[in-house]
């Protein structure tokens, strides 16, 4: 259930432990934006918004309006948080995590308003949902049909390249649980994509 998504880090994202690159191309823009320069913040937006919109769009299941709304929200949170940014990580990494947190927070906030599917239960497939992996559009459509948490884990791991530890931290679950969720997500996805990709 999505209600087990709860303990997300809803504060400003902590900066990753990994050392920041010494020459972050966005650092100067971030410093100027932190000092109040809106033009610098717009340049940051222009540089990063497609990547942030992309991850949010996938996490929310390809709903354009929600992804647009949440992308706006992520950038507004970034504007508020920039004065406290310590530049211990790359600006793009920090923005990415902030966007992920914003999207995950929205998933959780909607848990009471929607009929939640169980991530652990069998996925009901309609005949028309089956598709092949032949092109990216089909694959993207299949991802959008995954249960919310399974989709979030799969997107963050297999597309965005986050580690199980990073995803576990974002979702407040153990890395082992994250691996189990990913395993189930891939099973779901293969079933959605058709018999040729189903587990044998």
């Amino acid at each position: 259930m999505l209600s087990t998504l709860p303990s997300l880090d809803l504060t400003m994202p902590a900066e990753p432990v990994a050392a920041a690159p010494t020459t972050d191309p966005l650092a100067e823009l971030a410093r100027r934006a932190a000092a109040g320069e809106v033009a610098a913040f717009e340049a940051l937006y222009r540089s990063e918004h497609r990547r942030l919109y992309g991850v949010i769009w996938r996490i929310v299941g390809g709903v354009d309006a929600r992804a647009e709304e949440l992308t706006q929200e992520a950038f507004i949170r970034a504007w508020r948080a920039l004065p406290g940014f310590r530049f211990e990580s790359a600006v793009s990494t920090w923005l990415h995590r902030l966007a992920v947190n914003t999207a995950l927070m929205d998933l959780r906030a909607r848990r009471d308003a929607e009929d939640l599917e169980s991530d652990d239960g069998p996925l009901e497939l309609q005949p028309g949902q089956r598709c092949q992996i032949d092109n990216q559009i089909d694959l993207q459509a299949a991802i959008q049909q995954l249960p919310k948490r399974a989709r979030a884990v799969l997107v963050l791991h297999d597309i965005e390249g986050l580690t199980h530890e990073e995803i576990g931290s974002a979702l407040s679950i153990a890395a082992g649980s994250c691996k189990a969720h990913l395993h189930r997500a891939r099973q779901h996805l293969r079933r959605l994509l058709g018999d040729s990709h189903a587990p044998r």
Partner: protein, 188 residues
Amino acid sequence: MHPDEPKPTAPAADEIALRQALSALAVERRPGVDLWPAIAARLEPRQVVTALPAGALSPTRGATRRPPRRRALLQSLAACAALLAVLVLALPWQQSKTSLQAQSDPYDRLLIGEALALDREYAAAFAQFEGAALPAPLQPGLIALEQESARVRALLVNQPQQTRLLHELRELHERRLRLLKRGLELFA
């Protein structure tokens, strides 16, 4: 190992194909509309004081109008006020930060995160007045505002769900900034 965790095995060919297809998906995506105008409209202006003219805080500037003894007295008062501010504000707030950040409810933590960001934002603005000599009549007002800010912060520790406290804190910071600017103008 987690009970549900799959045992590590070599991935099958279809699994490899799936992973390759996933990793090949474009990470970037362009929104249907330009989101910037809506974002720009919602950006709150930074509460940072406009850069002061060179020498505005210099003691020699005030010395042309104030007798040296009075200037020294005012500087002492300013130093006392700054020390008091540290004692009244910083220590309890720093002590409470740990408990603030340990709040279990995510919405409480969100509001507390906002409060901490607000404090950092204004700290930068207040820092511009460090060492400035301010008129003595303004000191009681400044101290009262600092004390009131401390009271609101203390309430936030226990009632982070009270969003109105955030607004109160911002308003207090704003009043303090206005007072500090007025003080500088009187000396200008």
